[in-house]
Symmetry: C3
């Protein structure tokens, strides 16, 4: 569950963490060492976490983290074993602390560690086209093919029997067995996450990765951004058509089918056996249940329960949609 | 009309075809040789065809095929000269038979037959950029240009005076004269067609091609998938803007104008002199007439007759749309 | 404000201009030399301009141009110091004249002037990946990086501390300092502008460029077309997410945030501090004020005043949208 790629520069003393975000810390007797920053659900006792929206209050009530960056108005929702660190802007504080743990997770310039695959250890075990590049810390399983001009940047693990299309760029990603990524995709770049500032927006780190489980297919021209504090996940045997955009931290279940030009905004969670029609859009931070069908062109702006068919903008029950539009 | 690229491994005896799809065949006296599998409209007496949706009952009534894969509930709509082959799932049966006729039409890995154009017969007759690749069975007319990193994979015929953009990938396609395909396009890959299966989806063959007729222009970042059982066709002098997605089997008429980010789902038929505004979406298996105007952002989910202006989601007559949204 | 890249082949006598568009010109005594063709707002006394839609009548009333191509029904809106040149189709006349001033602004074939960057003057001052190409008339500031397979075609100026992604193609563009263009983008190609014709559409020249001001970021797979008669401009510190399409002549203000898969049609003007949700579409030739928020999936088809929140298709006040869709 933890990120296998970005080097964690911790532990950091909690007194140091407070200093980074301009909080007083006077309890020197219990200056605990903090090993990582994680989201509410994944934190352990040795971690600091963060809590910035009421949407997450149920997880906040049971988090295992020792410390939590939050606001005055949310602090009472926290598990009583977790000490709040009260700030004005939770996300800016998280960005600063994350940057201390993972200083290399902001910059997404091209990977200068890559070499031509014919000079790499993959030369004889992988089928590849012209001008294929591979970076540091890459593993490739057996019986894979890499199309012309494919760029497998650093921190990528590819399973067996995978096929990567021409002109596709991948970094910070784990691909299971039998995954196909078609041409012209960009997988694993940082998401669209930053703090707006009138002079110069402040990017925050993206320490998550992209996980594409076994038997998936990703269509031409698609973009899948890696997560900021958690991972972006495509569940096994899920198929994506062309020109799809999956934003950071999105999780999609198994056996789902997503048609062309769909966009899923950040941190939304899509269930298994979900079918999404072409050009539909899913807002950020919402939850789509299992066995849901979303009609083409729909705009989904709230949670959808299991076993539901919806359509429209905003999306509603499909029977209601068809009745209203007779 | 037949596919010029995929090698047909037929003929197959009808007894063999029945065996592939687990049907009994006991009439050995008339074990006809079947030369191809085609859609209802294009089949000849020596072909097997398929009929899986009531939408096609008018064509089914006049098909020339000798045999037709269909269901018990549809068989009575068939031309009485055509013998039904009754199955539970028509499309899975079609996939199996197609795969027997055309075993090379499923796999869409990168084309390993390509060579650098400067080592090819096109070296002196074509203008080209850096790192251009051409595959087997490619023809290029006079006065063409191929941009940097363009990949003309196998089975492509390009007319005279064509211009292919940088980073564009083309396979299994026929381009007429004076066609421009701009940068970063993917033309001729298989469509988003498969049979969902909980363990591992089953892809079906795409034996159709992409035909782009003379004087067309295809904008940057567009994807045009080749057909499954018929061809994907862009009619002459039709212009597509950037980031458009045209799914498998779509046919677009002449002199049409399609603005940015439009998506057209599988098997829909668009007339001539049609104008489609930006980001509009067209559902699959529908028919848009001639001289139709579709407003930007519309979602078209049913047939549109000739000479109509529509807008909205679902798209309706534009006067009605404007009145409802005053 | 004038285009720095396309060579102006003027001046042209006004008699010559009339001849190009088949008008009589008999006042030989005052056969003025015309130095350029510009839009209404940017024209000087030595220029010819054009006026084809009532939308621009306020600017027409104060244009400084000596001559204006327009129609009989619009001519009375013109500044009385400006002589009308009456034609049936203003835009075709403009295309013909522009082509005379700027004969090289129609053709957008790949740039054959490019060389490998390691053979260029940028070899030692710029960080670059494999297979990077740079064309004529390119400048690159200090501390920039160019990703693998990036193509900087002719007529590009890149500021300091810029980062250009892999597989990205740029031409006819000015980038300020600290601009990031991520992977697989196409910046500066001609827009989707032509005169429909049943036999062969007629492209018109695009003499504008793309200007991306300092501190901007452009997401993966985006396309930004250069302007036809004016420039396409992205204001400073504006961030665009992945798969966005910005059409010709669009102007976006400062500090704006535009989420994934948004499309903005030609000639629209977007203010500063604007936020646009994912997949929203903006029609052409409209004006969005400052501090506007547009909900994801919206379709904006009319002007939006400052400080407004809108959502829906067609977009309306967000309170109204939420009330109507409870």
């Amino acid at each position: 569950m933890t990120n296998p790629f970005f080097k964690n520069h911790g532990p950091l003393k909690i007194s140091k963490i407070c200093e980074i975000i301009n909080l007083n810390f006077d309890n020197k007797d219990t200056d605990q060492e903090i090993y990582d920053i994680k989201d509410l659900g994944n934190s352990e006792n040795s971690d600091v976490t963060f809590f910035h929206s009421k949407k997450y209050k149920e997880i906040a009530a049971v988090t295992k983290a020792s410390y939590c960056i939050t606001t005055n108005s949310l602090k009472n929702e926290l598990n009583s074993n977790c000490s709040p660190l009260i700030v004005d802007n939770v996300l800016i504080a998280v960005a600063k602390i994350t940057n201390e743990f993972y200083p290399n997770a902001i910059n997404d310039e091209f990977d200068s560690s890559v070499i031509h695959i014919n000079k790499s250890k993959f030369k004889d075990k992988t089928k590849y086209g012209f001008n294929v590049l591979v970076g540091d810390n890459v593993t490739i399983g057996s019986n894979c093919s890499l199309g012309h001009n494919a760029i497998i940047e650093k921190n990528v693990s590819i399973g067996d029997n995978c096929s990567i299309g021409s002109n596709t760029i991948i970094r910070n990603s784990l691909l299971g067995n039998n995954v196909k990524v078609l041409d012209n995709c960009v997988i694993g770049k940082h998401g669209f996450g930053f703090f707006p500032d009138k002079n110069k927006n402040l990017r925050y780190p993206h320490i998550g990765i992209v996980i594409i489980e076994e038997n998936c297919e990703i269509g031409c021209g698609s973009t899948i951004d890696r997560g900021s504090m958690s991972n972006t996940i495509i569940g096994k045997n899920t198929y994506l058509d062309n020109q799809i955009h999956i934003a950071h931290n999105v999780k999609i279940g198994e056996n789902s089918i997503i048609a062309g030009q769909v966009g899923i905004a950040g941190s939304s969670i899509i269930g298994s056996n979900v079918r999404i029609g072409g050009q539909a859009g899913i807002s950020g931070h919402i939850k789509i249940g299992n066995n849901v069908e979303i009609g083409g062109g729909s705009g989904v702006i709230k949670n959808i329960p299991d076993n539901t068919k919806v359509m429209g903008y905003p999306a509603k029950n499909i029977r209601e949609f068809l009745r209203d539009n007779k």
